[in-house]
């Protein structure tokens, strides 16, 4: 499940959008004990100026991203805008039965987008 982006297209400046991954949807609900799913989220939005410059508390700006946004505003055809990508991620843990009926807890790094940034 994902939040619909208002008005189609990238919609607004670069930020994290809600995306929920449901284990039931992929048919794993019989052997995944917990969680039922997780908020993976995703990044979308414009990276033109001023969005490329961080708001208060936002992710650190890459100078190169600002340079590209400046170049784009001066000469749109030269190089594209920076991309809106994950800037900070966090882990999840999954508890499940494996093929040998063991109860397994696996920990996966970098599974959830907490913050997006222009790169």
């Amino acid at each position: 499940e994902a939040d619909p982006v208002v008005g189609g297209g990238p919609g607004g400046s670069c930020r994290a959008r809600r995306l929920y991954v449901s284990f039931r949807e992929v048919g794993w609900h019989r052997w995944v004990i917990a969680p039922r799913g997780f908020l993976a989220n995703y990044c979308q939005g414009h990276c033109s100026l001023p969005a490329t410059l961080p708001g208060p508390g936002g992710p650190p700006t890459l100078n190169h991203a600002v340079l590209r946004a400046l170049m784009y505003s001066a000469a749109p055809g030269a190089a594209g805008l920076p991309c809106c990508v994950p800037a900070r991620l966090s882990p999840i843990s999954v508890l499940f039965f494996d093929n040998s009926d063991n109860v397994v807890l696996r920990h996966y790094e970098d599974m959830v987008v907490d913050e997006c940034g222009c790169r």
Binding site: A34, P35, L39, N41, L95, D101, H107, E109, V113, D114
Partner: protein, 226 residues
Amino acid sequence: ACAPAAPGPAAALLQALGLCDAPQGAPKPRPVPPVMWRLFRRRDPQEARVSPGRTPPGATLRRPCHVEELGVAGNIVRHVPDRGTRAGIPESAAAGQCSRWTVVFDLSAVEPTEQPSRARLELRFAAEEAAMGIEGDWELSLAQAAEGTGVGPVLLRQAVVSLGTPVRAELLGAAWSHNTSVPRSLHLVLALRHRATSACVHLAEASLLLVTLDPRLCHPLARLRR
């Protein structure tokens, strides 16, 4: 080590999660051990997350690739039930001694790339009220099972103070050495004796809590952060 993924997003996601294939059919219903619930609840920061971008305080302080609660490196924890019959070994009973038990752990699900960091045997004993009440002076001995009903060399001897709580023993370094990969299965012979009396108990449950580190799921960057 997995066969090429079958087409489709579910198979691709499975492989991304380092799982070769989804368990076939519904697993045998069995209660989830409390220790696994506890570990899951303490590790999964999502329980409290409500909107993108917010993380509960403390969640990001957790060292990646490390199981804080058990104090070892690792990103996979398995609770492996005993597959043995836990029936006593007849000849020991015939000789008037307390029973010895064979326990079997199927570790074939552990991949060769996984590095073990903890292998905690947990035993629950049950007996008549009188035997359970005898404190101290129990001794647990653990040996490799040999072919047939033979018993190999003793791997571990450990004093047991009380039978009221689960008896735990660390097998890593005893049943197999630290720097070798996990064996595909573990056959052990256990005996519990009381030094001062001839009291006997019987083994109600045996399980193994195995912690391993799969370096493929442990990003260098995550390690650097640590």
